[in-house]
């Protein structure tokens, strides 16, 4: 049952009109709701809509196919199929309603109680749920029907009871996730009692998954009702129900196969509609968080947007490893496609470390992922080139690029433990990587793996090799991740905030390790960070990014001595270790703008204390302001004539 997925989507409180609006945009949901609505209305109004009395027998017209007289034919006693479907819908839909009401009326409060109260309440309820889940539903209902023969209400209520554990579990895990939220704690502090908290804060965020489950359960309830009717366990046979009609049709299948079609199709369609509605509801609830539009295509490379300054010859210093020109990346929002990285250009040489620094949201990680063609769903590169040994990486085939992964370009990310597969030992994964890159025997690969672990300065490589990711400390895991990256002996390693998640002492060790490895292997290193200390520690050159653009790039020493962009200046001034002791720590006023609100001119202008009229109207290009030093500020001369003094 798909009701069991533990991936329960919780969004901010789903305001019902928002949910409805999202639902309306989904054509499948519209179709399902319309279908269900029409069927329900027609059935409720059966006394008006049905052409015949459902019990009226016409023994002369037994088992006819569709005719003028009986649009959908007649059954074994000459009764009109259409009329019986309409009246039967009342019974069948009522049965579905009974099941759904029981399962939600009992399952939701139980789930809320289990998730919110925790402790023994949770244990008891969970055990209860597990026990019920262990019982085969059909057998239980068979026994109930044997005690209360032909009592369809009893059968459906029992079915509802049996369905409780699934909803209980979903509501419980949803409640658990919400319970820890800050504003729930705040509500406690502000004196609301438990019931109010549950009612006002928890339930609104949980009812989304509940209606998803309810819709899916409705599908199952109808399916179940058909099954027990087929077994002949319900109803006085005169009274029409959909399932009963299918059961009757199956006895007549040899004489009039058509009879199976109207009831069978209606049931299957209704079940389908409930199920599709449930899916659509789930999508609508999920979309409450994140802004990704439904159906965003995978990141594919599109036609190149030729830019003015790409006509740069590829000859340059020897040892050029990577040349990025005008790289732009966009994202799909519900409003449309928005650029988040804009015209990024830089080079990287063998043996050197390039730092990319900026605040969160400036696009530095996205740039790295674009180079590696690892952009997540919804993002895609829309312009520029990335040259590697003469080829534009953005336009070669997927297959060719895969050949470069690990062996030419490698990647280390921010969270060391979550970047390792938790279900295999470290050694297992490393051996796999080595064997993929080097085609050696397993034994050779194992010893290479140990050597690699030693190379990243792990004290007990054997022990580590037999460990799982969750058994390692942050520092050890990051070293392992670096070993993974080195397994293919890459020429370029991109490290995205490799030390951010680690303790300060460990940070220094990791950086030292990287520097040493670079010297040993001669590979190029791109280091992405928001920390000037890291830049200062091991980078040779640096690039500052703001709002998707490079605003300054230069050699390290130069950047510290002579920053030539107001943003860089601001950043350096607000760094604690660079500040004047005893004086007030300065900070840059305002906030980093979101891509939707980037200014047409200089994107930093709203926060810049040097802003002038020339800054705000037209886009600012990146200008050379010295040897190997560029800045995206039109007022460089005016501003920094003073500052450099």
């Amino acid at each position: 049952m798909s009701v069991l997925t533990d991936q329960v989507a919780i969004g901010p409180p789903s305001h019902s009109h928002e949910l409805v609006r999202r639902l309306i945009r989904n054509p499948v949901a519209i179709a399902a709701i319309t279908f269900l609505g029409i069927v329900t209305l027609l059935c409720i109004a059966a006394p008006i809509t049905a052409p015949f009395d459902p019990l009226h027998q016409d023994l002369e017209r037994v088992l006819s196919g569709p005719t003028d007289h009986n649009l959908l034919g007649t059954d074994t006693l000459g009764r009109d199929v259409l009329s019986r479907l309409l009246y039967g819908g009342r019974r069948s839909l009522l049965s579905v309603l009974e099941g759904v009401v029981v399962v939600t009326a009992l399952g939701v409060p139980m789930g809320l109680a289990a998730g919110y109260a925790g402790g023994w309440v949770d244990r008891v309820l969970s055990k209860f749920g597990e026990t019920i889940m262990a019982l085969p539903a059909l057998i239980i209902v068979l026994v109930v029907l044997a005690v209360l023969p032909q009592n369809e209400d009893a059968a459906m209520i029992s079915f509802g009871l049996i369905g409780i554990p699934a909803i209980l579990r979903v509501v419980r895990s949803a409640t658990l996730r919400v319970r820890e939220d800050l504003y729930v704690a705040a509500a406690r502090v502000s004196g609301l009692n438990h019931l109010q908290i549950v009612g006002r804060h928890i339930f609104p965020r949980v009812w989304g998954p509940v209606i998803v489950q309810a819709s899916l359960f409705a599908a199952y309830a109808l399916l179940f009702e058909t099954g027990i009717a087929y077994l002949g366990l319900t109803a006085d046979p005169s009274t029409p129900t959909w399932g009963g009609m299918v059961g009757e049709a199956s006895t007549a299948i040899q004489r009039q196969a058509w009879l199976l079609v109207p009831s069978g199709t209606l049931i299957a369609s209704t079940i389908l509609a409930f199920g599709l509605l449930g899916d659509a509801l789930r999508d609508a609830v999920v979309m409450g968080e994140g802004g990704l539009a439904h159906g965003a295509p995978r990141s594919v490379v599109t036609r190149r947007d030729r830019d003015a300054d790409t006509a740069e010859p590829l000859n340059g210093r020897s040892g050029l490893v990577l040349r990025v020109r005008n790289l732009s990346v966009s994202t799909m929002r519900s409003a449309g496609e928005i650029p988040i990285v804009d015209g990024v250009t830089f080079d990287v040489y063998a043996g050197e470390t390039l730092g990319i620094i900026g605040e969160s949201g400036c696009g530095k990680s996205v740039t790295a992922l674009a180079v590696l063609r690892l952009l997540p769903q919804g993002l895609r590169a829309i312009g520029g080139q990335v040259y590697w040994q003469g080829d534009d990486l953005l336009s070669i085939t997927e297959r060719s690029f895969d050949g470069l992964r690990g062996s030419s370009l490698a990647y280390v990310s921010q969270e060391p433990q979550s970047s390792l597969d938790p279900t295999y030992t470290v050694g297992n994964q490393l051996v796999e990587l080595i064997r993929h890159h080097q085609r050696v025997s397993r034994r050779k690969a194992r010893s290479s793996a140990i050597a690699l672990l030693r190379q990243v300065e792990l004290q007990n490589p054997n022990q580590v090799a037999h460990a799982y990711a969750h058994e390692l400390s942050g520092g050890m895991a990051q070293r392992v991740a670096i070993a993974f990256a080195l397994a293919g002996r890459p020429k370029l390693l991109i490290a995205d905030e490799p030390t951010t998640a680690l303790d300060v002492t460990v940070q220094a060790e990791i950086l030292g390790l990287l520097r040493r490895l670079q010297r040993e292997t001669g590979m190029a290193l791109i280091l992405i960070t928001h920390n000037w200390g890291v830049i200062a520690d091991i980078c040779d050159r640096a690039v500052v990014m703001y709002a998707g653009q490079i605003v300054e790039q230069s050699g390290i020493q130069e950047m510290f001595d002579r920053p030539l962009h107001p943003y860089t200046l601001g950043l350096l001034n607000s760094h604690p270790s660079l500040a004047e002791p005893g004086s007030r720590l300065s900070s840059i006023p305002g906030n980093v703008p979101s891509p939707a609100s980037w200014a047409p001119g200089c994107r930093f202008s709203p926060r810049c204390r040097f802003v002038a009229e020339e800054c705000v109207k037209t886009p600012i290009p990146l200008i050379d302001v010295g040897p190997g030093h560029a800045s995206r500020c039109v007022r460089v001369d005016q501003i920094f004539a003073k500052a450099s003094a």
Binding site: Q57, L77, G78, P149, D236, S238, R255
Partner: protein, 510 residues
């Protein structure tokens, strides 16, 4: 799609592996070697002494009976060579066939038959006590001769000792003593049970009895009785040749069977209609008036309902008997022709011009529920509003008999004497829950018991006339339970005098 292409060779391989090597799906159905019969029920017991006629196929294969009922209604010797009544029907003598052995090797003699009858009487729930209710003693006169003595006249013993009522299907004394007959066979019939290759409740395999006295009439190397409750499934099994004969099938399968090239016999096995039990008007006052009961009979269009229930193979009837039964009187068929006006007239005369409500106990087997619904529709036309309660379980249906004024009925065809005992006599406690009595009927019954067999039918007819005139029932149709079979076999016979096929007569065709 890479994934799709990878699948294709797998699919091809599977199809190739499972294509039939040669012939059809039934590898066990070579003609002459194995006969497979689809039965709608499994037997609760394999012991013929239970008298459970609905399981006769299971008994017939392993047990020859003393007397054999033939398709024309006459009797011929089986395990008994001669038999006769003394005058007054109070004693019955049997002479046995010599040289007959049971499948375990024991010899059939008068002592074995006596032991057998005692076993049948002692069996809890067995029907022997119906047929031998006044048995006083069994005299063994010689190794092959015995006489039964009764305190009251007991007619119909030839029938009782035939394969129809099964009391003469003698089992071996060793098995009787060991009490094993419920789950295994020990008879003097052509076959015996092969327990090792049987699964109780699913299929029962019979192999030839090495000790059988009449070897020339064993037609198969193996006979399998397979339980298939779903008629669609049975039909499919016939079509694919997995079974050669399906018995007890609903009449609604006949047309599809015919178009699949199968053959059929449609024995009129069941008399179906309503049992108007509450003739005294206890629960439903209107029924106490014979005019109301007669009105019900007039209100039913037997031809139309028979067409639906019998699917064209049934026979409408206005009495609880048809041609071939001893109490059948052709004149009675027209006693209640379909006449809605007349029905309403009678109802008005009885004081119910606007009709009344009537609760009916229904069973859901052999189409009784469909019949009930059809009749409810008919009665609605004269203002009788029927509340039909169909019970899912036959046991519940029987238990509720006394709680409803009327019940749907599907009764077997029996001689009048037995009908009186079981169906409508004052001691028929199940089917006559309100204990209706009729002095003339009682008088005639006493005469019937003592009458010689050639005089019995006229007495029986008189009894039927009374039952019909008093409208104790509303019979509607004699309905068949059909046997469908493939043309590879022959010997599936059914007549008005002997409705059921006799399994041992089935042989390969041609």
């Amino acid at each position: 799609m890479k994934l799709g292409i990878a699948f294709l060779p797998m699919v091809v391989a599977i199809v190739v592996a499972f294509s039939p090597a040669c012939g059809g799906g039934g590898s066990t159905s070579k003609v002459g070697s194995t006969l497979t019969i689809a039965e709608p029920l499994s037997p609760p017991s394999l012991d013929p002494a239970t008298g459970a006629n609905e399981n006769s196929d299971y008994f017939n294969l392993a047990y020859d009976s003393l007397i054999i009922l033939q398709p024309d209604g006459t009797f011929k010797p089986g395990l008994a060579l001669k038999w006769s009544y003394a005058t007054g029907n109070k004693s019955f003598s049997i002479t046995l066939r010599p040289g007959v052995k049971f499948s375990d090797g024991d010899v059939l003699d008068a002592a074995a038959v006596k032991g057998w009858i005692q076993h049948a009487l002692a069996l809890p729930g067995g029907r022997a006590s119906t047929y031998f209710s006044s048995l006083t003693s069994i005299d063994v006169a010689g190794p092959l001769a015995l006489t039964l003595n009764f305190s009251s006249p007991t007619p119909l013993l030839e029938l009782a000792f035939s394969q129809l009522l099964e009391m003469g299907m003698i089992g071996g004394p060793k098995a009787v003593a060991a009490n094993s007959l419920a789950t295994d066979t020990d008879g003097a019939g052509p076959y015996m049970l092969d327990k090792a290759s049987s699964v109780p409740g699913d299929h029962y395999t019979y192999v030839p009895n090495p000790n059988y006295w009449n070897k020339g009439s064993v037609y198969w190397k193996k006979v399998v009785l397979k339980t298939i409750t779903n008629p669609n499934t049975a039909l499919d099994a016939l079509r694919t040749g997995q079974v050669q004969l399906a018995v007890g099938q609903p009449v609604t399968s006949v047309d599809s069977a015919k178009s699949a090239g199968l053959k059929y016999v449609a024995p009129l096995t069941l008399l179906m209609g309503l049992s108007l039990n509450d003739r005294g008007g206890t629960l439903a006052k209107p029924l106490g008036d014979v005019r109301v009961r007669q009105a019900i009979n007039y209100a039913i269009d037997r031809n139309a309902v028979a067409k639906v229930i019998g699917a064209g193979y049934g026979r409408p009837t206005a009495q609880m008997a048809i041609h071939g039964d001893d109490s059948y009187d052709p004149a009675l068929d027209n006693r209640y022709p379909y006449n809605v006006a007349k029905a309403k007239e009678l109802l008005a005369a009885a004081g119910y011009p606007n009709g009344f409500s009537l609760a009916i106990d229904g069973a859901n087997v052999v189409g009784e529920d469909t019949l009930g619904q059809a009749l409810a529709g008919q009665l609605a036309n004269v203002g009788i509003k029927v509340q039909l309660d169909v019970k899912n379980d036959v046991g519940a249906y029987f238990q509720s008999f006394g709680k409803y004024p009327v019940a749907t009925l599907a009764f077997g065809r029996l001689p009048a004497a037995i009908d009186y005992q079981i169906l409508y006599g004052p001691n028929a406690s199940l089917f006559n829950p309100f204990k209706s009595t009729n002095a003339d009927l009682s008088r005639l019954y006493a005469q019937l018991l003592a009458a010689p067999s050639d005089q019995a039918p006229s007495i029986a007819r008189q009894m039927q006339q009374i039952v019909v005139e008093e409208a104790w029932f509303a019979p509607v149709v004699a309905s068949p339970l059909v046997d469908l079979y493939r043309s590879e076999i022959a010997g599936v016979t059914s007549t008005d005098f002997r409705v059921q096929e006799y399994t041992t007569e089935i042989r390969p065709a041609g």
